[in-house]
């Protein structure tokens, strides 16, 4: 049996060499199928992971109060009233279930350190901003109550800003220019990573008072563009949204027939939107992967069917000179298995390369999923073997003379 297998292997290799084009196309079919499935599924999973991480970074009980009627074209613009520090105080005092609340003022400004300059999102807020948004410190410190009171020229920066402005240098104690002011870096925020919603680490946070009094330009008004709120554990966020809405309507004297000119949303809504869109994407990717598998399989089938006449005659010759049906079939089986396995391994390698490149391009984590590799490999191997082997099996059942007569 070993001898017979070795023999079949020898003949099969000879056959592969003799029909390089056919072998190449068969392998190509398997490679396309395997690599497509693995790449799609791996990237889909990576995206899901990234979104999950993003959601847990957001915090589970975070609410935001923003001006306007919601996201989208009607949301901002002239005439939409912003918030005031009194609004913040009123909410803190009158709405039960609020754990922390922070006024937020966002702007984009150019920042300069020595020769390096870049545009970065600047946030002015209070100390609670860090806990509400689950920021922690990597080095240095957050600003404190005194900094807020004195409008100290201090800021904390995200890791992207550190990398871009300072390179490998320690930024703590260095002064950067933001707008008109020179501001000392007192802390670096621990990275939250990126994906889905842009780079969260490309940010500078400074005391709200500092932003209002020192940076100059449009930032000097006392308006607040957003209020961030974290709910106490166990508080129903729908209830909280209701309370906040009615208080704000009251403070703004909105009549019953007037729409809200502000809106409140919580992270659960964002999480739901994001996870439903990743589900859609995963389904889409799976469909694409399925189609590629099918295309690969049809490719293999085509090649095998095109060569079936030649193969049948060849089987006739081999039977006529004394090969048994089993020996001849074993040879074809070995050939199909060899090609499919070579294709499968190449497909996995290609998928590995594609995943490495693509996951860094679309910025999702790349996790090697053993199961999907195995599944894709086995499926393609089966397709290759079935389509490579089935025509041979039919031919080997014929009497040699019938196989030789095949047109």
């Amino acid at each position: 049996m070993i001898g017979m297998l070795g023999n079949a292997f020898l003949i099969a290799l000879r056959e592969i060499r003799r029909n390089l084009t056919r072998a190449f196309l068969t392998v190509l079919g398997v490679v396309i199928g395997v690599s497509a499935v693995i790449t799609m599924v791996t990237l889909g999973e990576g995206t899901t992971e990234a979104v999950k991480a993003q959601i847990s970074n957001l915090g589970s009980n975070l609410l935001m109060l923003r001006p306007g009627a919601g996201f989208g074209p009607r949301s901002g613009g002239a005439g939409v009233p912003l918030f005031t520090e009194d609004d913040v105080e009123a909410l803190r005092d009158q709405v039960p279930g609020i754990a922390a609340i922070a006024p937020v003022r966002n702007t984009m400004m150019s920042t300069i350190y020595l020769q390096e300059a870049r545009n970065t999102s600047i946030t002015g807020s209070t100390i609670d901003f860090f806990s509400i948004n689950k920021w922690s410190i990597e080095s240095g410190r957050f600003f404190d109550e005194r900094d807020l009171l004195n409008a100290s020229a201090v800021c904390v920066i995200g890791t992207t800003v550190r990398k871009e402005l300072f390179g490998g240098q320690d930024p703590i104690g260095e002064k950067i220019r933001i707008g008109k002011a020179s501001i000392e870096v007192i802390g670096v925020l621990k990275s939250k990573g990126q994906a889905g919603m842009g780079d969260q680490d490309d940010t500078i946070v400074l005391p709200l008072t500092t932003l209002q009094r020192r940076l100059g330009g449009r930032t000097s008004s006392r308006d607040i563009s957003q209020i961030s709120i974290s709910a106490e554990d166990g508080t129903d966020s729908d209830f909280l949204i209701g309370e906040i809405t009615s208080l704000m309507r009251q403070r703004r004297n909105l009549q019953a027939n007037q729409d809200n000119n502000f809106f409140v949303f919580d992270t659960r809504q964002i999480a739901e939107t994001l996870s439903s869109s990743t589900r859609t994407m995963t389904a889409l990717l799976s469909a694409v992967a399925g189609v590629s598998l099918l295309v690969g399989g049809i490719g293999i089938m085509n090649i095998m069917l095109v060569s079936v006449t030649e193969r049948t005659r060849e089987i006739g010759i081999r039977l006529a000179i004394g090969g048994t049906a089993r020996e001849v079939l074993l040879q074809f089986l070995v050939e199909a298995v060899t090609l499919s396995c070579v294709g499968g391994v190449m497909g996995i390698l290609l998928a590995y390369g594609l995943c490495t490149v693509l996951s860094s391009v679309i910025q999702v984590p790349f996790t090697f999923n053993f199961q999907i590799n195995l599944l894709a490999f086995v499926f393609s191997a089966v397709v290759g073997v079935v389509f490579g082997f089935a025509p041979a099996r039919r031919a080997a059942r014929l009497d040699p003379i019938e196989a030789l007569r095949h047109e």
């Binding site: 003799r18 005659r313 006529a320 000179i321 004394g322 049906a325 040699p400 030789l404």
Partner: protein
């Protein structure tokens, strides 16, 4: 089984019939053939086109199955063998040469000739040596690397003969081996086959419709409409073979 002169028959068939197709499409190509052939004979089978010569050869070469009748090869009841046993019989005892050569495309002459030895499980070195010897015997020692597409019809038929005899079969069956060849090449091929019969003692069964080709044989069997019409041993063989 003994023949009249006391030699045991190598091949002995009785009442052999072959029907192609079924029902209204059925066609009886052989209608009951009796034939005995001794070891070492050189037999030509002649007859008009469609008379059943190829059908008979395919049955004798164990490439096809008869509808009824008995076929003994070297004492083995061929009609009762399964397909594996038939393959083994072809492998060890028979060599077949086709009118259309039937070589593997894109495969060198040497590898084509080696093919039957592969199924015998011989080691590579032995296969190489035997295949080279066979190619030398058919007069193609310098063509071992050529593929069929790179050879003339006569050369391809020589390769096919080399493939048929490389296993040293007891019987060589050839269905119109010169049917696709010109007259000069035909003569060369026939001398080759005659030499194999005389020098190596291989029993040769050959189909032809050409008298000149049949002349090389020592016995001529005429087939017509699926029956043997005439079966005679040529008395003038020793003088008339190579005219």
């Amino acid at each position: 089984m003994k023949t009249a002169d006391g030699n045991p028959s190598l091949i002995s068939i009785r009442g052999l019939t072959k029907t192609y197709g079924h029902g209204s499409m059925a066609f009886q190509a052989l209608k009951g053939i009796d034939l005995s052939i001794r070891r070492g004979e050189f037999v030509a089978i002649m007859g008009p086109s469609g008379s059943g010569k190829s059908t008979l050869m395919n049955l004798l070469g164990c490439l096809d199955r008869c509808t009824s009748g008995s076929y003994q090869y070297d004492g083995i009841a061929v009609e009762s063998l399964d397909s594996v046993a038939l393959s083994l019989l072809r492998r060890h005892a028979l060599g077949f040469v086709f009118q259309g050569f039937n070589l593997l495309a894109r495969t060198s002459a040497l590898e084509n000739v080696e093919l039957p030895l592969l199924y015998r499980g011989y080691p590579r070195a032995k296969r190489r040596t035997m295949a080279r010897e066979a190619l030398a015997l058919v007069g193609l020692p310098d063509k071992e690397r050529n593929t069929p597409a790179e050879m003339s019809g006569g050369q391809q038929q020589r390769v096919a003969i080399a493939r048929a005899i490389v296993t040293d079969p007891s019987t060589l069956l050839a269905d119109e081996p010169t049917g696709n060849l010109d007259s000069v090449t035909t003569q060369e091929i026939m001398e080759l086959i005659k030499g194999l019969n005389e020098k190596r003692g291989i029993t040769v069964l050959m189909v032809t419709h050409e008298d000149e080709v049949a002349h090389y044989a020592k016995r001529i069997v005429h087939v017509k409409d699926g029956l043997i019409e005439k079966d005679h041993v040529k008395l003038d063989h020793s003088e008339g073979s190579s005219q």
